[in-house]
Assembly symmetry: C2
């Protein structure tokens, strides 16, 4: 047999990634050197790189001068990086991930403007735009250098600092996407001033989530700053974002960055949260749905005698203090059938074996592999009447 004489070949290697998340204010003010210094640090002798800028339309409404400012900022850098064509302004929010035409127009722009693997795509906007543009950058020419400038709380403390991108496909959320780290991230705090209250609040759900399973001190900090955070204090929010981003980055680097194994992502409160997003046809923001999901899993943890009552109360209270609603009628609809279906979907998503993160305390995650439908139903009932 020929195969006996041909030993198998083993291909084994590591791919290193490194990027920095910087915190700044007014990134396109001419005196602000954050982005400029990054681009200069990547300069290559004798080569002017190209950059395609994609902007969330939601921003242009609040910052009518932004496009002019960006152009001016890059004029000063023209010996290093040149903007190609016009800045592309596209509608933000979930809808942009549902629209394959938008994806295609971006891919075609990469082609038309001759953006290659040495050029940049600079995405400025909320998590939806960053996901869409990130996916375009990841698959065009097998990967163009992506700079992210997240402009919402959620994208600054979670999605924008991580390694994933995606678009929806035929109604399936995040069906298409890749793992593709950016080359740099710039969190500009000033953009957060124009967020509406729902988006301001919604992003904080991820901070509570990560504090509950990773960092009790962080939970205590959020707790003692709840009122001032709710009243839109930018300074406090900047700390919340920084610590939350730090915990996410740490989890990625010290876990399984591209989720190839079975190591758990940071998904406390997410199984029910995801299902609620669907059941409400995405009328709930991601963070709003996750807040309800966390409330549910908190109560369930208590009902199963793992979480002390005091901790349960503190968590629910914090959510309410920040303005989150912690119950939604869809939880009870169809005799809780819908919700239980969500568990099965989550199990399938995980590949057969169910793993749900619950709490044994604040900062103390606790994994289970089954959920008791009766206690789950009791937990829903508890939330429905909780005030």
């Amino acid at each position: 047999m020929i195969e006996d004489s041909l030993p198998p070949l083993s291909s084994e290697f590591q791919v290193p990634y490194r990027y920095t998340v910087q915190f700044t204010k007014g990134i396109f003010q001419l005196t602000n050197t954050s982005l400029q210094n990054f681009l200069i640090s990547e300069r290559k002798e004798g080569i002017i790189k190209k950059a395609l800028v994609v902007l969330d339309e939601g921003l242009t409404l609040h910052y009518p001068n932004l496009i002019a400012e960006i152009k001016k900022y890059f004029q000063g850098l023209s010996s290093i990086v040149q903007l190609t064509g016009d800045i592309m302004v596209i509608p933000g929010g979930e809808e942009c991930k549902n629209n394959p035409k938008l994806w295609e127009s971006l891919v075609n722009a990469v082609d038309t403007y001759g953006i290659d693997r040495h050029s940049y795509i600079i995405a400025i906007g909320g998590g939806a735009i960053l996901d869409l543009v990130g996916y375009v950058a990841a698959v065009s020419h097998r990967g163009i250098r992506l700079v992210r400038i997240p402009t919402t709380v959620l994208s600054q403390n979670d999605s924008g600092v991580g390694v994933k991108n995606s678009i929806n496909h035929q109604g399936k959320k995040n069906f298409l996407g890749t793992f593709a780290p950016p080359v740099a991230v710039f969190n500009d705090l000033l953009f957060l001033e124009s967020l509406d209250d729902r988006d301001w609040r919604s992003g904080m759900a991820e901070a509570i989530k990560v504090s509950l399973i990773k960092d009790r001190d962080f939970f205590l900090w959020i707790e003692s700053n709840a009122d001032i955070l709710k009243s839109r204090n930018l300074e406090k929010m900047s700390y919340l974002i920084h610590r939350c981003a730090e915990l996410h980055i740490h989890h990625i680097a010290n876990g399984d960055p591209f989720e190839s194994g079975s190591s758990r992502p940071l998904d406390f409160g997410h199984w029910a949260g995801h299902k609620l997003e669907y059941l409400t046809e995405f009328s709930l923001r991601h963070g709003e749905a996750v807040a309800i999901g966390m409330a549910l899993d908190t109560v369930y943890s208590y009902q199963k005698n793992f979480l002390p009552e005091e901790d349960r109360n503190r968590i629910l209270l914090l959510l309410k203090k920040l303005g989150f609603v912690i119950y939604h009628p869809e939880l009870s609809a169809n005799e809780k059938e819908n919700l239980y279906l969500g568990l099965q979907e989550f199990r399938e998503h995980l590949g057969g074996m169910l793993t749900i993160v619950l709490l044994a305390g604040i900062g103390k995650p606790w994994e289970v592999h089954e959920i008791d439908p009766k206690i789950l139903a009791q937990s829903v009932d508890f939330l429905e009447t909780y005030v």
Copy 2:
């Protein structure tokens, strides 16, 4: 300023990859345990994984029982892996990379059959099918486990053992794609028996390429086996594929696997080769075009006084002995304008700085950063009249 108090966060990690390329004969014979052992080795307690098989139509023409054999093979594995739906048979060759509808139908199959990140997609066919299916697998759910069973010389010794995938977009070759290693590769020698002579030969161009820049001994081996290789000796071909695959894998693991920096891929002969593929509207096979490109760069290396005349002659002779044509009229068309344009495109592709691999000897690569158009034209003329 707030930013002074918020230090940048650094995200830094490595993503490990490991896969094995196995060599076998008759992979779907019930007595053949290669694939079976791999699937068993990945088994997870209590979970039956799903597998979607995509098959190159070119194979079904030559192996009418193949589909039945595959089904039977998996029947014996049904407690570990279950085939989902029907085996998908799609037309092979470059056309399948041009057809976005084909890509979409595969993505929809992933959805319909509930193929998740723990399932497999098993692609069986030539490099074009592997590229297409690999791209589908890479972006569906951010990456489904891909098993490759390459069935052409080129895909067994080069594309199928590497880390890239792609499809064409609006006439642009490989415009969309990712770097996404497979979880396993199985080279089944017996499939090569049905290749037509052009595909049998064409794949050997990559072996000559890699021998010229990496391994003089391998060149000598090909040289002394040229006649028997040409006469379709399977045993000799199996060695050629094994060594060529080994050199490619070694290059990937010890270089820059996802080509993030400026380290050079193995692309001797490829700048002109790529251009010729376009100029001939892909009527030339990749390897046929690369053979002409290698002949051109070989002669150029000699004309520039770097490559000894004897080496030049040996290289050209080997190409001819294997049946390659080493000149194409498109090289001379438009006063060699077209060809020179290819250089500029290659420079752009590299991001401004031109780097061309030439030869200082057999097994001795030599990089240059400019090409003399006059000497290039003389090299073309030389090839035109060379017999």
